[in-house]
């Protein structure tokens, strides 16, 4: 396969999934002739027509509620919410129905659907278009939440999400859509949901991140290696719910030091849960308090100030140095 960017890789996965499973239905706002506001659904409507690629009315609760209905009926809907900030309109459908049908009906009715959604900041978007609120859904029982960090993980995770028997929220960090290209394998690859990846081994400190801030983590690791001679172990979580406790604990037991990095707000963010699990499973291995480099507890600022809000390599390096020199 040629190298491709993340938007293209997600598009490829959608094509592959629709080609091989006629139950896969793609639906959302402006995903048909317009091919999605980020062009992620390019070519799908032309190839499969409006029966399987559905431009819906402008109603997020409608999109998610109808997708739940289709899933209950036996289809495999992949619904798009145009921006993560508009998922709130569907929150009751996601939280009270998508996440609960299996449990309420004791396994009889299930909701195998995927909610795709561009998330995060960094593209100078209009107000309310830059949210990272994965923690809300990680907090909701019955949902799975995955977030790729590049083209290859994007394609593999989307296949896993579509094949999953339960509802999966699939966030697409939109700052990564066209940021870089990667080789993706010829044959369809899936990544197991619930498994993190160690993307670099190291022994002195563990850096943990996911999604767009994996770039900040990698930048920081490069600086730490060059300037401090420290080789950081880097974990890309990929799956926010369920969270791969084992990979996290194994690493922290080895390094004794840790920094968690994400873009969403700090309080009750994914970092809080990672720290709690380390506390429960590896407290006595710690050499220093864990630091969190995250978005602040304010709504992500409108674009003039968003750069200051977002974690970057420098912020991660300062935190890592504090932890290393504790």
């Amino acid at each position: 396969m040629p190298e491709m960017n993340m938007a293209k890789a997600i598009n490829l996965a959608l094509h592959e999934a629709m080609d091989r499973d006629s139950r896969v239905i793609v639906m959302g706002e402006d995903i048909g002739p317009d091919e999605g506001v980020f062009r992620v659904t390019e070519g799908l409507w032309k190839k499969h027509g409006e029966k399987r690629v559905i431009d819906t009315p402008l109603a997020e609760s409608g999109i998610v509620g109808a997708a739940i209905g289709m899933a209950l009926y036996g289809l495999r809907p992949v619904a798009e919410i145009q921006f993560a900030g508009f998922e709130y309109y569907a929150f009751h459908q996601i939280e009270m129905h998508a996440g609960r049908y299996r449990n309420r009906t004791r396994g009889k009715l299930t909701v195998p659907m995927v909610l795709r959604c561009p998330s995060g900041g960094g593209i100078r978007a209009i107000e309310h278009h830059s949210e990272s609120r994965e923690a809300i859904y990680a907090h909701s029982p019955g949902l799975k939440v995955v977030i790729p960090s590049g083209p290859r993980s994007a394609r593999a995770l989307l296949h896993a999400a579509i094949q999953d028997p339960d509802p999966v929220i699939y966030y697409e960090p939109k700052a990564l859509y066209r940021l870089f290209k990667e080789n993706v394998p010829e044959t369809i690859e899936t990544l197991p949901i619930g498994r993190a990846q160690v993307i670099q081994e190291g022994s002195e400190i563990t850096l943990i991140s996911y999604g767009a801030t994996v770039r900040a983590m990698i930048d920081a690791a490069e600086i730490l290696e060059e300037e401090d001679g420290v080789k950081a172990e880097m974990i890309d979580l990929l799956s926010i719910a369920p969270l791969d406790t084992e990979t996290i604990l194994n690493s922290v037991r080895k390094t004794g030091r840790c920094v968690v990095i994400h873009e969403g707000p700090r309080t009750c963010g994914i970092g809080s849960e990672v720290v709690a699990r380390i506390n429960e499973g590896a407290l006595l291995y710690l050499e220093a308090p864990i630091k969190r480099v995250t978005g602040y507890d304010v709504p992500i600022p409108y674009f003039a100030r968003e750069k200051a809000y977002l974690p970057d390599g420098d912020k991660v390096v300062s935190a890592a140095r504090e932890v290393l020199s504790f």
Binding site: P33, D34, L58, Y296, R305
Partner: protein
């Protein structure tokens, strides 16, 4: 126990007063003084010129993505002029003419599109909510304001705006129903420009008109030619009078066309033809109003030239002022992101503010959070 059609107590109407050739229906023509007519034209022209300049600024990278309002001046202005200053104006995001008319400064509007929340702060004495990006969400606030006006009994009315796509959101239906059930003095102005990004109205709903929903909610409704400022003016004037005298809400559907891409990030050639757009250009609101005013001898080319010159000066000044403002605090200060989250900044946020200051090499002792409530309390 027969089976028979149900007689509904309400009907909806369509109204056009000034057609696209500039011909006016003499019976329906409102009596508006020459000076006010000329003033209406001036505001429309101002909004149009601002819109054109915003596009240039966006192309030059001096402001961010924004939605143009070209051709929507008649709807926004023709309705807003029926409000008193202390009535409430609850817009969506294509009401540029209304924002300007209601007293938002152009400098502030520019600051907003330059990416600062400061631009969303209504100027003193302006009873408006800022731009509402989450579609249809503002309509419920308008309904609640109308309910509050009934509770307080101060005879204020609320005018709110939404697009044709917005009619699909639950919030829209809930707002219409609340306003109707509680007979709230709210005028729901639907700016029907026939598209929601790429989705045409025919795919948004399976009924003839938007306005017929008024019947379903039990409120008066009227559809007007939204490129005809006289029709918009008359319909919303009646609705305001009814609302103020206790007659409850009205739905006013204003038909126009989205003359521009959805926002500066959109490419309409993917979903509609250029011919279609061209057909609507001939119907745009400014040309016909100009013809009408010239026929009435209220306006001439020299007037327009003078208006244009004044407008250009005003726009240039505002751009300079806005760009200067962005270089100075509070706009130039990233720590301002913490200033207004709460009336009092909690301890953990003060710590985060200091953490950011440290990361940016700024000195926090020099800048207190600029929250009015906090400083007032500290002072007290």
């Amino acid at each position: 126990m027969p089976r028979k059609p149900i007689e509904l107590p309400m009907q909806v109407e369509y109204m056009s007063i000034l057609d696209d050739t500039g011909e006016v229906d003499k019976e329906l023509e409102p009596k508006v003084e020459a000076a006010q007519l000329k003033d209406m034209f001036r505001w429309m022209l101002y909004a149009r010129r601002v819109d054109e300049r915003l596009l240039k600024l966006q192309r030059q990278g001096r402001i961010g993505t924004f939605p143009q309002a070209t051709g929507h001046e008649a709807i926004s202005l023709g309705s807003a002029i029926n409000l008193k200053p202390d009535d409430w104006h609850v817009p969506a995001y294509r009401e540029l003419a209304g924002f300007l008319y209601r007293g938002w400064t152009l400098e502030g509007i520019l600051i907003y599109w330059m990416g600062f929340e400061e631009g969303a702060r209504p100027p003193e004495g302006v009873n408006d909510t800022p731009i509402a990006v989450p579609i249809a969400s503002q309509l419920l606030h308008a309904a609640g304001m109308g309910m509050a006006a009934n509770i307080v009994g101060d005879k204020k009315v609320v005018m709110t705006y939404f697009g044709d796509g917005a009619t699909s959101e639950g919030d829209c239906h809930e707002a219409l129903n609340f306003a109707s059930v509680f007979q709230a003095p709210v005028i729901f102005v639907c700016l029907n420009n026939q598209y929601a990004i790429s989705v045409p109205l025919s795919k948004q709903m399976h009924c003839e008109t938007i306005v017929q929903r008024a019947v379903a909610y039990g409120m008066p409704g009227i559809k007007v030619d939204g490129n005809d400022i006289l029709a918009v003016y008359v319909a919303t004037k009646e609705a305001v009078e009814r609302a103020r005298s206790g007659g409850g809400p009205t739905l006013v559907e204003c038909l126009t066309y989205r003359y521009t891409p959805h926002t500066t990030a959109d490419d309409p050639s993917r979903y509609r033809s250029d011919e279609e757009t061209q057909r609507w250009v001939a119907k745009e609101p400014l040309i016909r109003f100009e013809k009408y005013l010239k026929n009435k001898n209220v306006l001439n080319d020299a007037d327009i030239k003078k208006m244009d010159e004044e407008i250009e000066v005003r726009i240039n000044e505002a751009i300079i002022a806005a760009e200067e403002a962005t270089k100075k605090p509070p706009l130039s200060d990233p720590l301002a992101m913490f200033d207004y989250l709460y009336a009092d900044l909690p301890q953990n946020l003060q710590e985060q503010r200091e953490e950011l200051a440290k990361a940016l090499g700024l000195n926090t002792s020099e800048t207190e959070p600029r929250n009015a409530a906090t400083s007032a309390r500290r002072g007290a």
